[in-house]
Amino acid sequence: MPRELALRDALNEAMSEEMRRDESVFIMGEEVAEYNGAYKVTKGMLDEFGPKRVIDTPIAELGFAGIGVGAAMNGLRPIVEFMTWNFAVLAFDQIVNNAAKTLSQSAGQFSCPIVFRGPSGAAGQLAQQHSQTFESWMANVPGLKVISCIDPADSKGLLKSAIRDNDPICMMESEIMYGHKGLVPDGEYLVPIGKAATRKEGTDVTIVSFNKQVLTCLDAVPELEKEGINAEIIDLRTIRPLDHHAIVASVKKTNRLVVVDESWPFAGVSAEIAYEIQKYAFDHLDAPVTRVNSADTSLPYAPTLVDEYMPNVEKIVRACKEVLYMKA
């Protein structure tokens, strides 16, 4: 019987199951042990696995990310939790210059099986430094794989795959979605990295999204239906490698594409998808690809500015009408 689980509990199960299965897996990060996680994702793990495998660090992102990289090069399978990806910026040297490049630099002698995980994206009125979306930053780096998903069942299966994967993985979650519930299957299962999921079938327009914006897209469905638009909604789940086959197959059916991507527009995930589609489905497009991003600005604190900045149902409906050449 599938159980209803919150995202935080699904992620907790993924890590706990993998730690039971493989002694070389451990987790470290700020507040992961005694505090049970800043967002309670690691709740109970210290009790079960002890301080050797569930490790509180000082606030020293560059240092503990690097310790993770070294441990991974030397045979362990670290999970490094960042309180949010905004703070992982301090650790980009280790993620980008080392985790991503170990295999290439050592010509295959050393690998780096590590999972860096934490929330990405805006979470309300947290202002400029705490609201950034990092999928496109990390996905730009060869050597890394990037997962971004808030569906509890899929996130669990993806995180288990990530922990078993032999390459370095960046996993993007969402602090405002940790309480988001979904049905999670019983028993052992994996979700493959690199495969998108269709959340809703449709015929008129393909909407591609990831992380919590998938829910905004689903929220737009009733509004779209009022306009007579039957949208297909694809959740990428993995950003790199990008499942462009799934997008191309859908666009061949709908002939129109809207990308809803919380990252900034310039060189963002949406830009990459638009490129791939014009390259591989050019003859199937009835309209230019369009997109809904966060604004091309920093995100300030005031609620009026947050509303202006974020993707929302209204902007998604407008974009769908644009590719369908319907009056706004």
Partner: protein, 342 residues
């Protein structure tokens, strides 16, 4: 004067301060305390949103520091910054409006609780990335030295921030280049739920300066006079061109890390120990005991502070939110910057 290599715990000589000085310390601490108590109430009413970290318990640092430095000195600190900013001269109405996210806030509603900035008061901001302000403050000091002033930059950070590598890089360069920077670690014992002793074998944070031979002292942060004296010593040293100085100021935050933290990792007894030494209460008692103020005069101050804070809330309530078009201002100085707006 502290020696270069040995950290020292201040043994205070009895210094007496003017009546005005005592009143000034008390009034500032009370203003900060009342401002933040109101901020918490407004948070409860969802008028203040996002992260909100209060300084309650730490006010003596802002008070003792401001009385010992000059207006042309600079300050940079972290996100627990309402008290520091108000001490610097940020008016409480603009501060409250900022918490409300209103266009009349100190940064037009764009920063919220963590990010006040005030260039008229050389307040270089509240920084939300733990430790980031340590090199930034060092750079602000660099600019003062470069321009040949005798101003200094107070660079404040928490005990948690002291574990970031940026601290060591900054300490080293500041000593090498004799930069006019006063590092203040506000050691309130915890970084979120993590006590100082769980983050290092060095729990005596004043020792962190030793490997750079930076003059360092440990200071009682519950007493504005102790803070004032230590900052005065440090400022004299720095203004003489002798380079940086480091104070670990021991303090305590009475509340959780932020509004959302129930702070279950501390005992009631521990919190009470510090509350027993509450700087606002003790200052008030001293004013009365030493007959600096009469009961009636004290009441007047309290009434004035209450009126100030009530007025700040009214101002914040009555102010408008920033217009949505403000999203595109203050990203670039170039006025016709071509934003992607598809």
């Amino acid at each position: 004067m502290a020696t270069a290599t040995k950290k020292k715990t201040t043994t205070r000589k009895k210094v007496s301060y003017s009546r005005e000085q005592h009143i000034e310390w008390y009034t500032l601490m009370l203003r900060i305390r009342k401002f933040e108590e109101m901020a918490l109430r407004m948070y409860g009413q969802q008028k203040v949103r996002g992260f909100c970290h209060v300084y309650i318990g730490q006010e003596a640092i802002a008070a003792g520091m401001e009385s010992a430095i000059r207006k042309d000195d600079a300050i940079v600190t972290a996100y627990r910054q309402h008290g520091t900013a108000i001490g610097r001269g940020v008016p409480s109405d603009k501060a409250m409006a900022e918490l409300f996210g209103k266009a009349t806030g100190i940064v037009k509603g764009k920063g919220g609780s963590m990010h006040f900035f005030d260039n008229t008061n050389k307040y270089f901001g509240g920084n939300g990335i733990v430790g980031a302000q340590i090199p930034i403050g060092t750079g602000i000091a660099f600019a003062e030295q470069y321009r040949g002033t005798d101003n200094l930059c107070v660079t404040m950070f928490g005990d948690g921030a002291a574990r970031q590598g940026a601290l060591h890089e900054s300490f080293n360069m500041a000593m090498t280049w004799k930069l006019p920077v006063l590092y203040i670690c506000e050691n309130n014992g915890y970084a979120m739920g993590t006590s100082v002793k769980r983050t290092s074998n060095i729990i005596d944070l004043a020792k962190l300066g030793a490997s750079y031979e930076m003059p360092s002292e440990s200071v009682d942060g519950m007493d504005p006079a102790a803070v004032h004296e230590a900052v005065t010593r440090a400022a004299t040293h720095i203004r003489a061109g002798k380079g940086p100085y480091y104070l670990e100021i021991k303090t305590y935050r009475y509340k959780g890390h932020s509004v959302s933290d129930p702070a279950k990792y501390r005992t009631k007894e521990e919190v009470q120990q510090y509350k027993d030494r509450d700087p606002v209460k003790i200052a008030e008692m001293k004013l009365l005991k030493d007959k600096i103020l009469s009961e009636d005069e004290l009441k007047v101050i309290k009434a004035e502070v209450k009126a100030e804070i009530d007025q700040a809330v009214q101002f914040a309530e009555a102010s408008p939110y920033p217009d949505p078009s403000e999203l595109y201002t203050d990203n670039y100085l170039q006025e016709d910057y071509p934003f992607i707006r598809d």
